[in-house]
Subunit: 155 residues, 2 copies
DNA sequence: ACCATAATTGAAAATGGTTATCATTTACAA
DNA sequence: TTGTAAATGATAACCATTTTCAATTATGGT
């Protein structure tokens, strides 16, 4: 009863890896495909839960791990103790940005400046590193660390 | 803001924040000051333990948190579940580098390429972001995520 | 130097994100 | 349709980091 007709080309990809395409996996991919931001495992769990309440948090973690190994998604860590996930190489995603992270209050500021200037360097770097280290790059993360304006004066 | 040139004047800095300079804190700073790489809390703990066996892991965590809040050290997360620490703005440190992180086997490759090209952009970006967001930047982290050569072909 | 006292410490317990275990269910090739 | 290996989900385990709390210690005022 494979009623996966009409769904994204994920099915073939899974089978190409000798894995099975299942409902939980489809739901998880669907959530990743329809969001603007990089989500935590728990956020993904809750979103899937809305229309598929039998989903288990364990399955979410396992699926994300698998998708990362397959190169379908990126796994980031912005320093707050929770991993974040997003589809790899997806231009529909949130406007490209990076982070300012406060080492005192741990607040995270997204910034969008210098996207263009950065793009050239990043692309050049990616290309060279891919070749040098035989590494397939799917994404990157740039974090600046320091003290925000509220913490710079107090301890 | 207190200034700290070289090693010792940390005592005055602590007092400037209304904190006390203690033996454990001195030992921890000494370890951070005499290493080439960004260490985990546990690594710092073991190094201090060598010559100060009564040190507690809790104290290491607490001191690192305090030092980060004071802007003396940077706290990084390269995605392996353990925070890393290094003195802020220290040029004696390990040759500047960034990371390639494999989303499958989680191996981390340090690369040193493009340090010069990157430097200009980073400095320019830092300066602008500092002003725009009134944020005191102490360091940065650049990670590329993807699949290493050993994982790119297998699942 | 001596107190007073608030800051600091360290052992132990708690926390929270993530992973391993395992019995049950499910996808899918034959 | 069925056999079987893959996948699921509830639960327990894991592990880095925090919290708790009684004991210790640094420092300013006396």
């Amino acid at each position: 009863m494979p009623r996966f007709a009409g769904l994204p080309p994920w099915g073939g990809m899974f089978r190409g890896y000798g894995r099975r395409i299942t409902v939980p996996r489809q739901k998880i991919l669907s959530v990743l495909n329809s969001t603007d931001k990089h989500l935590t495992a728990e956020e993904i769990y809750f979103k899937v839960y809305q229309e598929y309440p039998t989903i288990g948090l364990t399955t979410v973690y396992r699926t994300l791990e698998l998708l990362a190994k397959m190169g379908v998604i990126n796994k980031f860590d912005i320093g707050d103790g929770k991993a974040r996930f997003e589809l790899a190489g997806d231009d529909k995603k949130e406007k490209h940005h990076h982070h300012l992270i406060c080492n005192s209050c741990h607040r995270i500021i997204d910034y969008h400046e210098f996207a263009d200037e950065e793009k050239d360097l990043i692309e050049k770097t990616e290309k060279a590193l891919s070749k040098t280290y035989d590494f397939k790059i799917h994404g990157h993360l740039i974090n600046f660390y320091g003290l925000c304006k509220y913490c710079a004066m107090k301890v």
